[in-house]
Every structure is written in structure tokens, then in C-alpha cells.
């Protein structure tokens, strides 16, 4: 732990309340109490996550849309004011540099939010391509604190803090809101499958005053959410909730060799765009020819917990490998995402996961893994 690990504004709070571990170059809380308890708070009431370790770039100028459409796959021209979308940034071969969110916060002003592990790579990539356009790219990662508020009670809590009903805000929107008297943006997005949002706490430099401001804001959320049983949640619950929702994670389901079509995140990709983004030709070719491998979900039938790299067997043949796996607190069984040969299996089929030499049966499924009538943002009761 001696290398230079990053710390967020909230580090001191995490250190005194949770188990802090190294993650993607950062010292972050893996849990405060129990991962399952925090996970279920998100599924049943509301949980908050410090996601300040992610990178935030402010991209502005008359040619901001041109830069963005050059380096990302979703359709920038379709983004209205205060709207956001999920996108990817590709290499020439249509492998993924990163997956990201873009929010339009002004006529010529966008926020790009990218994974912590890919921040420096994306920063260099943006800087290199920004040269050809009238655009400015600013790294705002150290001046904005980011807190995700997720769960069926998240909007109740956020509305209370804002003093106005935020339920009316569309999913994927990004609006300036004052929470407890502080200037913020509320992005109506998240990474847990649940209703809620991600708060950008503005004007919060990485100074003693900024850290103090961030901690008092974090504690204010906990205080105002007390009657809703709000829980601070660590990276453990962040990973288990995203896995249960079937969301991809860079370095697992996505990397420089995997395309968005193989990862089955085609909603992040558009082909009617101008200019054509980097990786467009390779991706279009793959769309026309079809993929040779694809992402699936796995639900364990036998006991056992699938983990990354475990082989997936069909008969005597290995058809792929697990990319992320773990225990689902909602289902109380092992679940996984895996990359397998295209057309080898379909939903409902049974395969075997090689768990350290022991073959254990699993069912091929889609996602989310939980019953969407019971959990998640589209729950019916």
C-alpha cells in the first residue's frame, strides 16, 4: 500500500467508519458494516456511495459536439439540454477504451464521467483529439465531489434535501439543484439498477475546506435520510448491486479487445452519426458480419460461487469464461456474467462452470438477475 494511492475528499470519514482498501489506484471503503446489509439497503430503502474516485471532464466550446462524436459512440446530436446518455469510447478496432456517461449542461457544455481506472488514459485521449477542434477540455475531478444516492427511497430523500419534488425529473436527465443549500447537479442515473441519482457537489476543491464541505454534505444526507434507514455503502455493495442488475464493469466485461456489440451494450452505440467516431468502421463491419462471442448471464443451479476466469463448459467443450461473478444477496445463490462463443447457448440452457476442477451446473439467463417486478427501478410493488 506504499505506492501513491489516491484519496477522495471523504477519505477521513471512510477511514474512521469503514474498511478502506486499495482499489484502482485509490484507497476506498470496501464496506462500512456488511456488504449484504449495504446491498439490501439499496434494494429495500436507500444507500449512498462515494464515487468521487471517478474522473469528471468538462468539455466546452463551439466544436464540443464534434470532439465528442469523434471519440464516443452514442449520438451526441440527440442530447437535448440537461440530458445525458451512456456511451463508449473506442479504439480503431472497436475495442473499448472506456464506458462513460455524458451529460449536456449547456448549449456548448458537456460533462464526461469516466471510470477511475481509465481516467488518465481518457484524459490523454481527449487532450490528443481536442487539438483538431475549437474546444476546451478541463479535468474537474478534483473540484467536484460525486455521491450516488440509490434505492426505492432515493428520490424521497433527494426531494427532501432539495425541498422540491424531484420525482418529475426524467431518468438520465442532469439538472442544477440546490441540496441542503449547496450548488449541485443531480444526474438521474446510477449503477445499481435502482431508482435514484448521482449528485455532483460543485465548488469543492481538494483542500481542507473542500474536504470539510464534502464530509458535512455526506453527513447531512445520512442525517436527513435517517428515518428512511439510509446506509453508507462501500465498493463491495457497489459491485454486488451492479452485478445483480447485470451492468458491465470495465476490466471485466469490457476491455480494449471487447467490442460494445460483444458486450451487448448496443444501446450505447449508434450508426447514424456524423462525423463517424473512431472505431466506427470496425464496429459496423462486426454488426454486418455478426459477433463471434457474446455476453450471457449465469444463475447457479448447483451450489458454488462463479468467479472471474472460471471456464464455462458445454459437454466437454469450453465455450467461454466468467467475466464477473459473486453471490447474489437477493437470490441467495451464485450469479455471473460471462463471455462465450456466440450461438453456443441460449437463455434457459444449462451449462457447467468449472469451479476449481469441480463442474457445477448453471442456467443461462438474461438480466437483471432479480425479479424486476420486485426489485429495481421498474418495480411494480
Amino acid at each position: 500500500m506504499s505506492e501513491n494511492l489516491g484519496r477522495t475528499h471523504l477519505y477521513d470519514w471512510h477511514k474512521s467508519h469503514g474498511d478502506v482498501i486499495p482499489f484502482a489506484g485509490w484507497e476506498m471503503p470496501v464496506r462500512y458494516t456488511d456488504i449484504r446489509e449495504e446491498h439490501m439497503a439499496v434494494r429495500k430503502s436507500v444507500g449512498i456511495f462515494d464515487t468521487t474516485h471517478m474522473f469528471r471532464f468538462l468539455i466546452s466550446g463551439p466544436q464540443a459536439p464534434d470532439l465528442l462524436q469523434t471519440v464516443t459512440t452514442n449520438s451526441i446530436s440527440k442530447l437535448g439540454m440537461n440530458e445525458g446518455h451512456y456511451s463508449t469510447c473506442l479504439n480503431e478496432k472497436a475495442g473499448i477504451h472506456d464506458d462513460l456517461m455524458i451529460y449536456r449542461i449547456g448549449e456548448q457544455k458537456y460533462i464526461w464521467i469516466t471510470n477511475a481506472s481509465n481516467g488518465p488514459k481518457i484524459k490523454a485521449h481527449l487532450a490528443a483529439h481536442a487539438k483538431q477542434f475549437k474546444v476546451s477540455v478541463e479535468d474537474k475531478s478534483r473540484d467536484i465531489v460525486m455521491i450516488a444516492v440509490q434505492g426505492p427511497q432515493a428520490l424521497t430523500l433527494l426531494s427532501k434535501m432539495a425541498g422540491e419534488d424531484l420525482r418529475k425529473l426524467a431518468r438520465f436527465s442532469c439538472n442544477p439543484i440546490r441540496f441542503a443549500g449547496r450548488d449541485c447537479y443531480l444526474c438521474r442515473t446510477g449503477y445499481t439498477g435502482e431508482e435514484g441519482g448521482e449528485i455532483l457537489l460543485l465548488d469543492t476543491p481538494f483542500s481542507e475546506a473542500g474536504k470539510k464541505k464534502a464530509i458535512s454534505f455526506w453527513e447531512e444526507i445520512l442525517r436527513q435520510g435517517k428515518d428512511l434507514d439510509v446506509k453508507p455503502c462501500g465498493l463491495g455493495a457497489r459491485d454486488s448491486t451492479r452485478l445483480e442488475a447485470g451492468f458491465v464493469l470495465y476490466g471485466h466485461e469490457l476491455n480494449e479487445e471487447i467490442t460494445p456489440l460483444e458486450a451487448r451494450i448496443s444501446y450505447a452505440v449508434k450508426f447514424k452519426v456524423e462525423p463517424h467516431y473512431i472505431g466506427y468502421d470496425a464496429l459496423l463491419k462486426q454488426k454486418q458480419e455478426g459477433v463471434t462471442r457474446t455476453r450471457i448471464g449465469l444463475l447457479m443451479i448447483d451450489k458454488g460461487v462463479p468467479r472471474e476466469q472460471y471456464p464455462i463448459m458445454l459437454g466437454n467443450q469450453q465455450i467461454g469464461a466468467v467475466t464477473s461473478g459473486g453471490m447474489s444477496p437477493v437470490l441467495d445463490c451464485g450469479i455471473a456474467l460471462a463471455l462465450v462463443k456466440a450461438d453456443a447457448v441460449k437463455e434457459g440452457d444449462t451449462v457447467e462452470v468449472d469451479i476449481k476442477g469441480r463442474l457445477r451446473k448453471a442456467r443461462v439467463t438474461g438480466w437483471p438477475f432479480y425479479n424486476p417486478d420486485e426489485y429495481g427501478e421498474n418495480r411494480t410493488h
Binding site: 477511514k15 474512521s16 467508519h17 469503514g18 474498511d19 478502506v20 470496501v30 464496506r31 462500512y32 458494516t33 456488511d34 456488504i35 449484504r36 463491495g236 454486488s240 451450489k303 458454488g304 460461487v305 468467479r307 459473486g326 453471490m327 444477496p329 451464485g334 469451479i355 476449481k356 469441480r358
Partner: protein, 137 residues
């Protein structure tokens, strides 16, 4: 220290310990094996335990099972050589017993040792293990 690891690690006298945080207790002509309090603390929230079947022959230091927690998977290594004679099947349905009682009801398997004297010499006693753990925290 943080909340999750604030309690002092429990080490029991009379047991033998490995550097991988397994314990071994000699009971008559058998040896009972489990993982230590330090290990269960570090793993936290154990969700699944799987030990090789009864009848399996093992060398000391050999992998003989795995423990799954919410965060990670880790291997169990046998402290002594011999043949597994009994596996604690109650852990199948309540793996959290290992968190609650690592030296008692959370035992993992019993083994009939084949080279006990020599194997025990390579293990730590409670005093040595306590300082080994202290050096890690």
C-alpha cells in the same frame, strides 16, 4: 482501526497454525482443521464453504477446499498430511458459522494424519501465530 477489524483477533492455546491462517487441533488419533479468527475477520461475510470429500488423501500444504466471502474466494490448505475422514456438512447451509465460531462449530474437516509429528513441527504454536498476525496488522 476501521470498524470491521477493530476487535482483537482471537488465538487459542493448544492449537497449531499455518501461515495461511488455518488451525489444527489434535483430537485422539484425528486432527480437526478450520480457519482462524483472523482469517474469518479478513474474509468477512462467508457465503460458501467447500471441502474435498471424505476419503481424499492430502499432503501437508495441499489445497483441500475453498471459502467464499461476499468479496472474494480463497483456498484452504491442509496443515497436515493424511486422509479426510469427515467434513463439516452443516457449513453447507450455514457457512456464516465460520464467522461466528471459527474455532468451534465452524470447524471444516477431520483428517487421519499420516505424518503427524513431522507436520506439527512445521506449524506455529499459539504464541508464534499471535505474533505472526500482529506483524501483519
Amino acid at each position: 482501526m476501521s470498524k470491521g477489524t477493530s476487535k482483537a483477533t482471537k488465538v487459542i492455546d493448544g492449537l497449531y497454525y499455518t501461515k495461511e491462517h488455518e488451525w489444527a487441533r489434535v483430537e485422539g488419533d484425528l486432527v480437526v482443521v478450520g480457519i482462524t479468527d483472523y482469517a474469518q475477520h479478513a474474509l468477512h461475510e462467508i457465503t460458501f464453504v467447500e471441502i474435498m470429500q471424505s476419503g481424499t488423501t492430502l499432503n501437508a500444504g495441499e489445497e483441500c477446499g475453498l471459502v467464499e466471502s461476499m468479496k472474494a474466494s480463497s483456498d484452504v490448505f491442509s496443515p497436515v498430511s493424511g486422509q479426510i475422514v469427515e467434513v463439516n456438512t452443516s457449513l453447507e447451509d450455514s457457512p456464516e458459522t465460520v464467522n461466528e465460531d471459527p474455532y468451534g462449530k465452524g470447524w471444516m474437516y477431520k483428517i487421519r494424519p499420516s505424518n503427524l509429528k513431522a507436520d506439527l513441527k512445521k506449524l506455529m504454536d499459539s504464541k508464534a501465530y499471535a505474533s505472526f498476525v500482529a506483524s501483519k496488522t
